[in-house]
């Protein structure tokens, strides 16, 4: 099964990098969509079927924290697993994002293999 992925990051080069790493990872990627912040992500989610969300935290407009809150508040969108990808690996930040509903947290730097393993973990949990 190929999964559709939504990449949410305000940096175009970071979105390109994640797209590239998904390809290198061996993860079964179907359609890949991009958004520059939370508002754009919600628009993509209303227009497309998304299987998993990869989101940054610090973004102009709606940031990653607010996006997670909006997902949690929506009975349908909360079923889509969201992974946070961030440079901030402090314990306080990781625990906060998990408490807001993130299913996983990947701090940079990360390898293609670790991204695939994390995606398979959260999607495996959902499939069960």
């Amino acid at each position: 099964m190929a999964y559709s992925v939504l990449i949410v990051d305000d940096s175009p080069v970071m979105r390109s990098f994640i797209r590239r790493v998904l390809g290198l990872s061996g993860f079964e990627v179907g359609e890949t969509m991009e958004a520059g912040n939370g508002e754009e992500a919600l628009a993509q989610l209303s227009a497309h079927r998304i299987d998993v969300i990869l989101t940054d935290i610090n973004m102009p407009g709606m940031n990653g924290e607010e996006l997670l809150k909006r997902l949690e508040a929506d009975g349908i969108l909360k079923r889509i697993p969201a992974l946070v990808i961030s440079t901030d690996a402090t314990k306080e930040r990781v625990l906060r994002m998990l408490a807001l509903g993130a299913e996983g947290y990947m701090s940079k730097p990360f390898t293609p293999e670790s991204l695939r393993e994390e995606l398979e973990r959260v999607l495996g949990d959902r499939n069960v």
């Binding site: 940096s11 080069v13 990098f17 590239r20 901030d88 690996a89 402090t90 306080e92 730097p109």
Partner: protein, 162 residues
């Protein structure tokens, strides 16, 4: 940076220099697909090098500056994006340098102060900042295609409970 801020630059654990070396090598190998070997400093190349500076604030406040020699900046950006160097735009080169600064700074402060509560500002493209005050941690690296330098400093003592 103002003289006032220069005066409050505080000493960091010298052992943190080894951590900077480790984190820089890991970031460059994992996400930029290149190798970094620590070398003796020779800063002549930094006079014309593309640089990015980033501030962090919260329980610890400070800043980091990154310099990459022009001949290394292009292959780093191309490698990060999976593009041929000839395909790169100036905007992409600058954005990748900012992203590298962002990743390095985030990884370093998370390793140095894992219990901290910090926010990173957006990196800015700049010229090299030669910080001469005590307490600055600095390392230079040789990459296959050129050079890279990092300086990080803490401005003011950590707040209580940090």
């Amino acid at each position: 940076m103002s003289e006032e801020l220069e005066q409050v630059c505080v000493e960091m654990d010298p052992a943190a220099g080894d951590m900077i070396q480790h984190v820089a090598a890991e970031v460059l190998e994992t996400m930029f697909f290149t190798e970094a070997e620590p070398v003796e400093c020779d800063h002549v190349w930094l006079e014309i090098a593309p640089c990015a500076q980033i501030r962090f604030d919260g329980s610890h406040s400070g800043e980091m500056v990154l310099g990459v020699s022009a001949e290394a900046a292009e292959p780093i950006a191309a490698s990060f994006l999976g593009l041929d160097p000839m395909e790169l735009t100036d905007a992409q080169r600058g954005q990748v340098l900012q992203e590298l600064a962002n990743i390095l700074c985030g990884a370093m402060v998370s390793h140095l102060w894992p219990e901290s509560k910090l926010a990173l500002a957006s990196p800015e493209l700049t010229g090299w900042q030669e910080w001469l005050s005590q307490g600055v941690l600095h390392r230079c690296f040789a990459l296959p295609e050129g050079m890279l330098a990092i300086s990080i400093r803490l401005l003011g003592a950590p707040t209580a409970g940090a």
